[in-house]
Amino acid sequence: MTATQDPVYVTDALIAEDIDAYLLKHQHKTMLRFITCGSVDDGKSTLIGRLLYDTKMIFEDQLASLEKDSKAVGTQGGDIDFALLVDGLAAEREQGITIDVAYRFFATEKRKFIVADTPGHEQYTRNMVTGASTADLAVILIDARQGVLTQTRRHSYLVQLLGIKNIVLAINKMDLVGYSQERFYEIVKDYSHFAQQIGMESFLPIPISGLKGDNIAARSSGMPWYQGPTLLQHLEEAPVNDARMLDQPFRMAVQWVNRPNLDFRGFAGQIGAGVVRPGDAIRVLPSGKTTTVKSIPTFDGDLDQAIAGQSVTLTFTDEIDCSRGDVIVRADAPCEVADQFEATLVWMDEHAMLPGRPYLLKIGTQTVTATVTEPKYEVNVNTLEHLASRTLGLNAIGVVNISTDRAIPFEAYAVNPDLGGFILIDRMTNATVAAGMIHFALRRSQNIHWQAVDVNREAHAALKTQKPAVVWFTGLSGSGKSTIANLVEKKLHALGKHTFLLDGDNVRHGLNRDLGFTDADRVENIRRVGEVAKLMTDAGLIVLTAFISPFRSERRMVRDLMAEGEFIEVFVNTPLDVAEARDVKGLYKKARSGQLKNFTGIDSPYEAPELAEITVNTVDLSAEEAADRIVAALLAR
């Protein structure tokens, strides 16, 4: 053993001697957030445990329970097993793995530290990306015996992807390679080569032993050849991200409009970049309206200025429209506004991405609806190769185009993570399914404008003296959708209505002949039908559609395309056993025997509507009766 086992980061003498002086000093501490990356055997938990121990963050009662646990389940032959300090949940203690992101805290005289500790098994990408998203610095661990491995490359790529500029390469377990200088430089040389490939600008290599404490807080006597800083020294000196954002023009996403009475209207948010002072000319995006900052009122009095990282409230000299989701920027240096982007996505959900399906996108303080294209490519995080892919599964990373339902203020992630980082949320499960980083706006989103037409949808509808609508029939195969829709159209036609029936099977012979029956293709099928139906309503028609349309999300997507009240969902409610017994086209038989894959109701789900405008039960009603009811309901609206 070369480093002392006792905590070497001794308690500040000021605590005992002059507590007021100590407190004054500690009020000026800064804060650094970092992430440690390493797999199960790299000694990550041991390193964090060591940092806590060396900075005296472990109390006597914790140490006593640690010693007891080390003997019972430790892996260090009765010695203190530092890893046990940080393996939190009971389930993981038994299995000897960490299963999620955990945050640890320690402090030295200069800084407070928050460490994101992420586990090293298959959920790794998702957890590491989460931990890295808030980090100022990353410590990449390498086992000195193993050198640069596939996982080292993966960690480095992810750290680079999340835009972390400060990277420490901690070459661990130096005690197990005889503190060899040659081995250290060999690994550094290997890594430099790789770092260059991924465009990493710089990194700091430090030879350490987490277990023995070498070059963590105390300089190692076993490695006199190493002259650089210890890990803790470097953590105390490294710059934080807020400092980088200070030099950029002012940006603040509006979180909350504060209106306690008629005399006060304040716009609250956390400053993402730059500085703001009363008298500054600002612009509200996306509207582009300009005004001047009147004051920065706080609980402790008005401020002369506020800087990146602070949560503040601003008042303006003019009453202009500004609400949650808007971004306040310096008037002469606004950010871009667009509705189509190229972005990198990290998929975090067990259900794969469905191109074309609408997801919620949260960026800054606003949430919009967004659709994602098929990936341009997927990145193999181990080899960094670009792969062709039609979707992204759990932990996959790919580059996609994204379009949002309205224009949003943004900046490239590399410039401003606050206005360039986003999450995607599934509208049905509400799960966070992906993290994304904007590269740039697509040129076409700025260049394709809506062509204003003189004979508009109102004019089309007026000539036909009817109210356009989409009557959307959904139900299992064999439920009677097409039969009933056909009857409804005949009846409407007889009443002098201008109608058109889009039938599932027919559309698949033409417009959608290139699509199959995977979940992704089903989504695209419905998207196209929705767009066609929308054009037809613009032409003033009453459109009837008969598609299984098994997913709520897609029916919702079409509903959102239409004007309020123009989407009428008709649920043709036929139980599976009844539909299967009818089996008009013999498809159920094929599906049951395995000849037909992805058949709704058999090996692909049907999500029944929760709030259909009209529901018809075909067990009790004949097709004719069902059609009469629907026509009556349509005429009543």
């Binding site: 914790q62 329970s65 200070l246 948010g269 609980f299 602070q310 949560s311 986003f422 949320i425």
Partner: protein, 310 residues
């Protein structure tokens, strides 16, 4: 702020750790105010609650915080806590809701005779009842990640099922400061704006901001008895003394406040905040040791949380 000069030559600054923590907590509170239908702030009258309430006042200034305070009471808190509770709510201009579990009330559940049932019924059940009764969808809590190992993994926005259970294996990833606040039917959210604060941060902030806290945190001569190694304060006549037991005046204070028969005091001479902080920094045992609740088993807090304890 630590003043530095930037390339632009303007005198600017880097935020200190407390300013960064404050800004983060305020951001979290405003996200809740903007998204929740019916939020509430759980208020336990302890130092963490005091800090959280202070941050809420700052977050929505000049308006009062747009939610009420909720105290899930056990009737066994220190008397000094009830005094400060009512005053703090009044000063903040917020409504104070107090809930007592009627069943625990009726059965006379108390910490002397009923052991862990006391916490289960008054606190765990009481909290569930209160959230259901007023139909709150989001509740702020003052928990910190440094308190206990299972807390270290909990999200800032922590979802509970319709029966208030926590599933540690099925938590949403939290990236940047983009909190996904959408909840499914029946779900509720516990939000912890102090997640990244440590005990020392809390004390420093209270000191710096001059936040009023319960006097029990400061040392004074108080009537005490010692039981099972815990120094307990005899706060009122309900404390059943054992034969031969007489309260002894000792100079004590509390590092953490709960039900007085369950909260162990430390002998201390610390009468001011700096002295309290000094003692804390020189101390050698962790904060929760003074609470009887954690001692049962090493994973007891995690189990309690899964069952719905805050």
């Amino acid at each position: 702020m630590t003043t530095t000069s930037t390339a632009a030559g303007i005198s600017q600054a880097t935020l200190t750790h407390l300013q960064r923590l404050e800004a983060e907590s305020i951001h979290i509170m405003r996200e809740v105010a903007a998204n929740a239908e019916n939020p509430v702030m759980l208020y336990s009258v302890g130092k963490d609650s005091a800090c959280m309430l202070h941050l809420a006042k700052k977050a929505f200034y000049p308006a009062p915080p747009p939610f009420p305070l909720l105290h899930v009471d056990t009737t066994w808190k220190f008397r000094a806590m009830y005094d400060l509770r009512d005053k703090a709510a009044r000063d903040a201009g917020m409504d104070l809701l107090v809930h007592h579990n009627p069943e625990a009330m009726e059965k006379g559940i108390n910490p002397f005779d009923h052991g862990s049932l006391h916490t289960d019924m008054w606190k765990t059940e009481g909290l569930k009842q209160a959230l259901t009764k007023w139909n709150f969808d989001v509740a702020f809590g003052g928990a910190r990640r440094d308190e206990e190992k299972s807390r270290a993994k909990e999200r800032v926005f922590s979802f509970r099922s319709a029966n208030h259970r926590w599933d540690p294996k099925n938590q949403r990833p939290e990236l940047w400061k983009l909190y996904n606040t959408r909840k499914s039917k029946g779900e509720s959210i516990r939000v912890f704006p102090l997640s990244n604060w440590t005990e020392l941060d809390i004390w420093q902030y209270i000191h710096l901001e001059g936040i009023e806290i319960v006097p029990l945190y400061f040392s004074a001569p108080r009537p005490t008895v010692i039981r099972n190694g815990l120094t307990l304060m005899v706060d009122d006549d309900r404390f059943p003394l054992e034969p031969g037991e007489t309260p002894v005046m000792r100079s004590i204070r509390f590092r953490t406040l709960g039900c007085y028969p369950l909260t162990g005091a430390v002998e201390s001479e610390a009468k001011t905040l700096p002295e309290v902080i000094q003692e804390m920094l020189l101390t050698t045992t962790s904060e929760r040791q003074g609470r009887a609740i954690d001692h049962d088993q090493s994973a007891s807090m995690e189990k309690k949380k899964q069952e719905g304890y805050f």
